[in-house]
């Protein structure tokens, strides 16, 4: 017998009698001021949240806050026409300084943003870039993770991530340090 058959037959023999799945509909009843809660939570975990009226305002912010010679990549034509990086070897993104993309939706209770590879341009992009900016449509903020998975539904993707804040670690004596391996900073533009 192969290990597969062996393991599965032992499991079948040893598993207890079938128990029902619980109902999830009773969960996720928390009521929040969505924009306020999302902002408060994300800023609490090291992100920056800015409310803007249009893409021009975002551009102005980037120009004012990041060095001119930075390598900026984006999936949004408003910021960059160049799409070559999306099909290049992922290792070639090692010198990306700034990535600006659009998130599908966000979650108020934990400051998480849902991205799939089509929003990322490349799977490694939001991790390997030094700084990350994500545009979120305010009207897409959902209260809890239950609504979030409802929204994702059975949509297909190869890779997706709930991203909440910049990369961080507290492995050295519990001191919080931003920028462990992923992006050192996250700014979210709410439009």
């Amino acid at each position: 017998m192969s290990s597969r058959e062996n393991i599965l037959s032992r499991i079948k023999q040893n598993q207890p009698e079938l128990l029902p799945l619980p109902d999830l509909l009773v969960l996720g009843t928390e009521q929040y001021d969505l924009v306020q809660k999302f902002t408060e939570i994300l800023e609490g975990i090291g992100g920056k949240v800015l409310q803007v009226s249009d893409y021009e305002e975002i551009k102005k912010y980037i120009i004012a806050n990041y060095p001119v010679n930075a390598r900026v990549i984006s999936t949004l034509t408003e910021f960059s026409e160049n799409k070559d990086w999306q099909t290049a070897d992922p290792h070639s993104l090692k010198d990306a300084d700034f990535l600006i993309i659009k998130g599908q939706f966000a979650v108020a209770e934990n400051g998480a943003i849902w991205l799939t590879e089509s929003e990322m341009g490349q799977r490694v992009a939001p991790f390997i870039t030094q700084y990350l900016a994500i545009v979120i449509d305010k009207s897409t903020i959902l209260p809890t993770m239950h609504q979030a998975y409802g929204q994702i539904g059975m949509a297909d993707y190869g890779f997706g991530v709930f991203l909440a804040g910049p990369s961080k670690t507290a492995d050295i004596e519990q001191s919080l340090v931003l920028g462990a391996h992923g992006a050192r900073g996250l700014v979210v533009f709410l439009v």
Binding site: Y157, F159, G160, A164
Partner: protein
């Protein structure tokens, strides 16, 4: 001084039982106190996060019921998961034990190199946190084959450089002080001598590991949740190391114990709400990555491991331990863990839950672990999937005594304690006797028959117990 008093490294009870190792750990009083306080601080962050969710208790109950369903339908969920993963172009492997797991991983590497593994260092693997590969001693196995495994979680890299196993499943180097890490990095990464600034040291590790991510073709990750309905798996990190490894590598291997399976994607909502809040008090980990299909040109493998789990599933009293989502809340709250350190447990998974899992793997070698508890029940109170941890520890004691595996020093005192704890009227009575004993015959409590006495003064007995006080004053 580099080596902490806890650096009894090997996962091997030959180097001492829990209490012997704890005794060594306890010799450094300041470090023990610091360790205790650091962990309790994390426990308090967990409480704060939990209190912010109205439905916290309902969430725990729901998570527990989902996991009960998973245990009862494990066979079908695994078959469904495999079927869907294959549809997603993921290669699925099954490993009966640690040895087979390691052989499968080696096979994948060797196939990638078409049997001709080059001798340079770039053939190696980057690995993000996976307690399962610790359980399987995979790093040691691959090292013998000439394949270098680089641990990429900062805490894991620290203990790896120090040639130690992790002492905690979420915070692997929680027993290390920053001065010691500064010294370690000075030696291995060339940081300036005496610099112990966490920001500076983290930056050094970032640069060091970025180079590894960019040059290693094979990445191994653990699995937090595997979804039967869709064949995808979720990996949670704060650092982003799992993603840096997996998205740059040509080959992604994910190792999972079969109990990581959950029925449907919507159930992730329940577990992701509980996991980080229970672990560190964060609302969610920075990255909750859903791997469903390999990227173009990449190979993705999943190794589903049994290694004793199907036996545990058949033990009615202990099968609940397979519900564990490895949040470590039970470690952080445990008065024994906090004051004895992770290495005292001589098992990949330490703490209260490790003490239930370990005897299943090897009763003789781990017979001491279910006794490394005061049975206070704090673990059970914080567990996000409602495992009856302290009761299982108590039950293991009975099994171990019956099977004749108990360490003699514990049997006498603990047997008395077990009877006492399972019988409230004796408890009341013995409390009284205990106080009288402490008043009159302190040497008797303070002798070597009481294993909890070591390295600590017994508390001053209160004049009267709360129970007596309450009885007198309740009117």
């Amino acid at each position: 001084m580099l080596k902490s008093s806890s650096s009894l490294t090997a996962h091997n009870s030959q180097l001492g039982t829990h209490s012997e190792r704890a005794e060594i750990f306890n010799k450094d009083f300041d470090r023990t106190t610091w360790h205790d306080e650091t962990l309790y601080f994390v426990r308090q962050k967990r409480d704060k996060a939990a209190f912010q969710i109205n439905d916290w208790e309902l969430l725990r109950e729901t998570a527990s019921q989902i996991k009960n369903n998973v245990l009862s339908n494990m066979h079908d969920y695994l078959v469904q998961f495999e079927e869907n993963a294959i549809k997603n172009n993921i290669k699925v492997h099954w490993a009966a034990d640690a040895k087979e797991h390691n052989a499968i991983v080696y096979g994948i590497i060797s196939e990638y190199y078409k049997g001709d593994i080059p001798a340079d260092t770039f053939k190696g693997m980057v690995k993000s946190k996976s307690m399962l590969t610790e359980e399987c001693h995979m790093n040691e196995f691959l090292a013998e084959k000439g394949i270098e495994v680089i641990d990429t979680d900062l805490g894991e890299r620290i203990v790896q450089l120090a040639e130690e196993p992790p002492s905690h499943i979420v915070m692997p180097c929680i027993h290390w002080k920053k001065e010691e890490i500064g010294e370690l990095f000075h030696k291995h990464l060339g940081t300036e001598k005496g610099n112990k600034d966490p920001q500076y040291l983290t930056e050094a590790a970032r640069q060091h590991l970025r180079d590894k991510f960019l040059t290693r073709p094979i990445a191994l990750t653990g699995v937090n949740f595997a979804v039967a309905e869709t064949g995808e798996f979720v990996v949670c990190t704060n650092e982003g190391n799992a993603d840096m490894g997996a998205h740059l590598a040509d080959v992604h291997i994910a190792s999972m114990g079969f109990e990581k399976i959950i029925p449907q994607k919507k159930h992730l909502g329940v577990f992701l709400r509980l996991l980080a809040r229970s672990a560190t008090g964060q609302p969610i980990t920075t990255y909750s990555s859903h791997f469903k299909k390999p990227r173009e040109g990449q190979q993705m493998h999943i190794v589903i491991v049994d290694n004793g789990r199907s036996t545990q599933l058949g033990r009615e009293d202990f099968r609940n331990s397979l519900k564990c989502i490895r949040c470590a809340a039970c470690f952080n709250t445990c008065p024994v863990y906090r004051r004895s350190g992770g290495h005292s447990y001589h098992n990949a998974v330490a703490g209260p839950i490790g003490s239930i899992l370990a005897p299943n793997l090897d009763m003789r070698a781990n017979a001491d672990l279910p006794f490394a508890s005061t049975l206070c029940g704090s673990c059970t109170n914080v567990c996000p999937v409602k495992i009856d941890i302290h009761l299982q520890l108590y039950k293991w004691r009975q099994v171990l005594v019956q099977e004749g595996y108990t360490p003699a020093s514990k049997t006498l005192a603990m047997k008395g304690m077990s009877t006492v704890l399972s019988n409230p009227s004796i408890f009341k009575f013995s409390g009284k006797v205990g106080r009288m004993l402490m008043d009159k015959l302190p040497f008797l409590v303070n002798n070597s028959m009481n294993p909890w006495y070591k390295q600590r003064e017994m508390p001053e007995p209160p004049e009267e117990s709360f129970r007596e006080w309450y009885k007198k004053n309740r009117k």
